[in-house]
Amino acid sequence: MVEFTLWDILRNLLLAARWTVGLSLVAFIGGGLVGFALLIARLTPSRGARRLVSFYVQLFQGTPLLIQLFLAYFGLALFGIQTSAWTAAALALTAYTSAFLSEIWFGCVASVPRGQWEAARSLALTFGEQLRHVILPQALNIAIPPTVGFLVQVIKGTALASVIGFVELTKAGGMITNATFRPFTVYAAVALIYFALCYPISLTARALERTLHAAHR
């Protein structure tokens, strides 16, 4: 049997962490785009669109991400689409992220006073112009801290992709454990790497929150 040094373990984990970062970015960016589209749909006067988006959000917030990953993995296969764990994970996490981000952003838009919509409307701006020039710029300010904060949830969420066999940080931890029989060390190292990824983002979100509150005073 090959002896694994602590450095071997760390190096392999760090290599796998690249996939954690990659999956997080894909889910965050993809989820942001889809979430934005959902937000707009939810803001239009169409009641049907609003209901549909609320339903979508409730679906993803009311079921475990793990089950969503399973459904993406087995569901795609059902439609005859060749699935890799990567595709399924990217798809499920994107959908999951989109639901949460659209909900967060919807809250931010809702906190813009109604008078702003009315003033924009009374100045003959179209719905799109009201959003683009009056509402979204104001909502964006409020939205940045919780959005950054949610990135932490996405990164932690990618750990579940290990369950459908995607080799990212957590899965790599399991594999290395099997090879080294040092679960304590390996999982502690895995946790620390996640912490190193997430903690700075949490701090940033909190700092942004503080500046926002200071500006509002």
Binding site: L59, I67, V152, A159
Partner: protein, 223 residues
């Protein structure tokens, strides 16, 4: 063979309803125990973070940050696979509960602390002038209104932990997702099994939110 959507067969899942029911029972049991433990831990740590000595503040602060910035599944694996190497062996169920309690405790600490810090200073001063002890003030004057204010946030967090408990199936705690997994491994109807599981989780999270919104005012902060 390519199966199509038309071929979905939920019957084969539902005949195993006993397994699903058992899974639901485990999920709810895990959630109930860890919600209780997690809230108690949260209250304690929130107190420590506000009133404790400096070293205790530092320890609870580190605890909160560590557990909020790492995935639950890693926490669970560390407890279940990692701790035995250090001579601390737990059953899957005990490891699940421990992980859930600690995880919820970290979030609850932050939520409760924020609620307490938003309590007007004047109330504490009024209580001090009535010669109540620090402990009495905390539990009778500061905590109840703080809990009322943050109860919706705590409810959401408990639901997140309930949904997160699906991960405990990975160390073969026989909760709902484990049941679904077991069923699909027997009849190969994976998609249907997880659809059914998802719907049950959805119902559970809706029901649990209702229940907690009802329970909170009645038993926790008495209206």
């Amino acid at each position: 063979m390519i199966r199509t959507v038309v071929n979905l067969d939920f019957g084969t899942i539902l005949v195993d309803w006993r397994m699903l029911a058992k899974g639901v029972a485990w999920t709810l049991g895990l959630t109930a125990v860890s919600a209780t433990g997690g809230l108690a831990l949260g209250v304690g740590c929130a107190w420590a973070r506000i009133h404790g000595p400096a070293w205790l503040k530092a320890v609870t602060g580190a605890y909160v940050e560590l557990f909020r910035n790492t995935p639950f599944i890693v926490q669970l694996f560390f407890i279940f696979f990692g701790l035995p190497a250090a001579g601390f062996r737990l059953s899957p169920e005990a490891a699940s509960i421990l992980a859930m309690v600690i995880n919820l405790g970290a979030y609850a600490t932050e939520i409760i602390r924020a609620g307490i810090e938003a309590t007007p200073r004047g109330q504490v001063e009024a209580a001090l002038s009535l010669a109540l002890s620090r402990m009495q003030i905390f539990f009778h004057v500061v905590l109840p209104p703080a809990l009322r204010k943050i109860w919706p946030a705590l409810v959401s967090q408990i639901i997140i932990v309930m949904l997160g408990s699906s991960v405990c199936g990975q160390i073969s705690t026989e909760e709902l997702s484990f049941a679904a997994n077991l069923i699909q491994s027997r009849n190969f109807r994976a998609f249907e099994a997880f659809i059914v599981a998802a719907l049950i989780y959805l119902a559970l999270s809706i029901g649990l939110r209702r229940l907690l919104n009802w329970l909170g005012p009645r038993f926790l902060f008495g209206d």
